[in-house]
Point group: C2
Chain length 511, copies 2
């Protein structure tokens, strides 16, 4: 897999990618003499998406890239000047010109770790004016990345660890970068590969793809390829006219399947031959351009068997319409019978790929039967940064049971001592009238120092490493929290001191 | 409004922003000797989104930009080589290196015009291999843009022509460019402005924004601004301490409203004063950080009246939670009473802006009462390029009645004579067993030549011009097609010759 290298990511997340009110508020703070007040904001969500009890933290790598490059160029400042009042003090714009993130500190949940409602994904601190300008772009970079990664993780849980999951949603994405983000974070969340070539080039996501219906239907069967000959896989011996060889096999296949030899579409067969000439080691047949049973399947078998004679093994077939599960089961039966009939054992286990609007429900049905599934993650944004947030700077810990599974997350004030494993803690579940006690076997601090005064504290993990962390984290989550429908809610509790602070503020607010 | 200028748009839509199967098929065509075969594809959708009977065509400007810049760089070709079979003929990669769109011709529905199911938004013709590589990026650029523009047009129809609609969805967008695309095409579809500063800078979208809850709650009331003095609007006479002046007004306002003068939150008032010092000519109060009635509204009135004394008029208030309609109606009453009580007539008509997850239903309720609405377009992608498409190269016409409203769109073969106004035409509605006749008062060709052999045929309209076309087109659509719920379906009919071709192909396919 290529290393991550995105020289143009800076272009994708530019400093003016923000809501105008962040700039108008910046002017308000500046006019009030508060531009350099110490400030902190936390980014978190209120409810887990898709009705589940967990989410995955993602997008941190894009945030770090954005923050390190953050600087308002002359053209940016000029544009802001054009939309702010004409009599704005020029010193404000001088202040903007000098801004960067050299005084910004970020704590974050590591990429790919489990995230729960109310626990900050990011804590950003620094001078008030800068931190205000950063809010929208960081929200934009984290919300969608985490949503897609969570969606992918859910589909991976349904499919189990072995099935191959391919993401192919680019054509329906929210513009070019919407697609790039979706492909990147689907991979992080547990997909195996993407159809999006740019995600491969820029982010190192494994890419996959074969052929579309348009390729199949563009052949009539009367085409004459300039070089119809294919050399044997072993590289020795004379080449063979693949189309002619497939034609010979077609007769045997049709006899075996009880079909007339005229029934399979000659254009589809020509397309399969053309594809096999280009990809003899990775031949895949798209079966449903005409009729799966009367055309796609016999044509595939004819070409696959011709390839087999030359020592190549076909990679698989793809179905893109109809009842995917039922067809896949029938096709598997046909492959088994043909493997026996023609004494080609590998044919029995040829990959069956299905695609076409596969959501969680469809995948659950398919997952028991199939080996690879391609789909487009369905997204519904239910994250919502709280309008009323918990006060003060907070620390967050994950309390684990003796089997290593997370019991609950605990928020406390930053200045409280770190909770110790084996120690009894009094904590407040949300909305509880009484505290409860818990004695965690292990305690993990959740927020890691990521940027300190603008400096990266440790190298960011690779996308593949974050992907591995996501799977490890999910595997440790207890089944009742991991369940996708009606899961037990995972608790995020407050320390006694934080709860007391909340209580006093609530009392103070309604006199 | 700034001119459109996006020097980095090339970066956003790079040639490898495509599905890998487009590249594998390209190799397949090349191996089959068909790389330079003449080919054409059409991009259209099957159903109108959001349950309506119309869509708006959008995204063409991004397509044109993409096509004109399309060229595989060395790094792109090297990346493709790394994911294609290692023994691929090097001549294929030489072919890729030389590719551009100099032989590609595009016909398109103009930006902002009405689009109906089955009528091509884009017709792209050129050498088969190039055209195949272009399919995914063009789909990606057109689908989402058209969807967002259609959504915006529906919200505009609900709101009526006068209300101001502000888009502020950036923080929930699919990554940076997802947000940029949404902001751009919401404007095209009929919104007035966006919160997204980058959309203003790069695309010339008018931007708008004021302040957030975090600004309000960040003030305690004990802050001392470095310069509390505000000069009169006319520029003559001594400055006034705005905070002190607001405090004086607060007592009168509280007496008028029957509130204790301690009830309004001093931090909120300090925030309003700070904002008013920075934006005396554009002061807006966000009312719901604490209590609208006991704090936000009296604080706003106190600061607005203090500003008024200096000759400034407050711009408005914003509500971001609760029952927006009911609150807005009550607030209007308070404004009217205060305008009379304090003899400040302009206060009566101060803008009331509402925001917070406003969808079509909520907007319909609000639109009768309010003057400006900010919301995030809700998107649901229901467009789907057909797998089975109508055969042959087609021309498309809009048939209009004598009042200028569109009656139906007609598809015919490219070589058929152009239908004439006043002439009786025999056409086939979808699924009909018999043709019907229509005598259009006017006929408009729908697809305009946009790129010919890679050359732009006419300058692209500005975004604002496309926005105007959208509103004009919608105004001409008859009410039964424009209706948002259960509209009469707009018919797209086939010419007799095209219908005959479809029939013969269907007959040929199932022998």
């Amino acid at each position: 897999m290529a290393a991550e290298q995105d020289p143009e990511a800076r272009a994708a997340a530019r400093p003016l990618l923000t809501d105008l009110y962040q700039a108008t508020m910046a002017l308000g703070y500046w006019r009030a003499g508060r531009a350099r007040d110490a400030a902190e904001f936390e980014l978190f969500f209120r409810r887990c998406p898709f009705g589940g009890a967990f989410a995955l933290a993602a997008g941190l790598r894009d945030c770090v890239r954005f923050l390190r490059a953050f600087r308002l160029r002359d053209a940016d400042v000029q544009f802001l000047a054009s939309v702010l009042p004409p009599d704005t003090d020029p010193a404000f714009f001088e202040h903007l010109r000098a801004l960067d993130c050299s005084e910004v500190t970020v704590r974050a949940l590591p990429e790919g770790s489990l995230a729960f409602p109310g626990v900050p994904l990011l804590q950003v601190s620094g001078p008030l004016l800068v931190v205000q300008l950063l809010e929208t772009p960081l929200l934009c970079l984290v919300s969608y990345a985490s949503l897609v990664a969570t969606n992918a993780a859910r589909l991976r849980l349904i499919a189990g660890p072995e099935k191959r999951l391919l993401e192919m949603g680019l054509r329906r994405a929210q513009g070019p970068d919407g697609g790039l983000t979706a492909s990147t974070y689907s991979y992080l969340g547990g997909f195996d590969s993407s159809s999006n070539v740019l995600a491969g080039q820029l982010r190192g996501v494994p890419v996959a793809g074969t052929l579309a219906h348009s390729f199949v239907t563009s052949f009539s069967g009367s085409e004459v390829p300039p070089d119809p000959m294919l050399a044997p896989a072993a590289g020795e011996g004379p080449g063979v006219d693949l189309a002619a060889k497939a034609q010979v096999w077609l007769e045997q296949v049709c006899a075996h399947l009880g079909l007339g030899v005229q029934e399979p579409h000659p254009g589809e067969r020509a397309a399969f031959v053309a594809y096999a000439l280009a990809f003899p080691r990775a031949f895949q047949g798209l079966l449903d351009s005409y009729s799966v049973w009367r055309s796609g399947l016999p044509n595939f078998l004819a070409v696959a068997l011709a390839l087999g004679e030359l020592g190549y093994r076909a990679a698989g077939v793809r179905l893109d319409s109809g009842d995917l599960l039922q067809q896949a089961q029938e096709i598997r039966k046909v492959f088994r019978a043909a493997a026996a009939r023609f004494q080609v054992p590998w044919l029995e286990s040829v990959l069956i790929v299905v695609s076409n609007n596969i959501d969680e429900e469809a995948l659950a049905r398919l997952a028991q039967e199939l080996v690879a599934v391609g789909g487009q993650p369905r997204m519904k944004l239910t994250e919502d940064p709280e309008k009323q947030t918990l006060p003060g700077s907070k620390a967050a810990f994950r309390l684990l049971g003796s089997d290593g599974s997370p019991l609950m997350d605990m928020l406390q004030l930053a200045e409280e001592p770190v909770p110790q494993a084996g120690q009894e803690l009094r904590v407040w579940p949300p909305g509880a009238r009484e505290p409860c006690t818990v004695r965690p076997a292990q305690v993990e601090p959740l927020l890691r120092l990521c940027l300190q005064q603008g400096q990266l504290c440790e190298p960011l993990p690779s996308l593949a490493e974050s992907r591995a962390l996501a799977q490890l984290s999910l595997s440790r989550l207890s089944p009742e929290h991991r369940r996708l429908q009606s899961p037990a809610q995972y608790q995020v509790v407050l320390s006694e001191r934080l709860q007391a602070l909340v209580n006093s503020l609530c009392a103070g607010q309604s006199p």
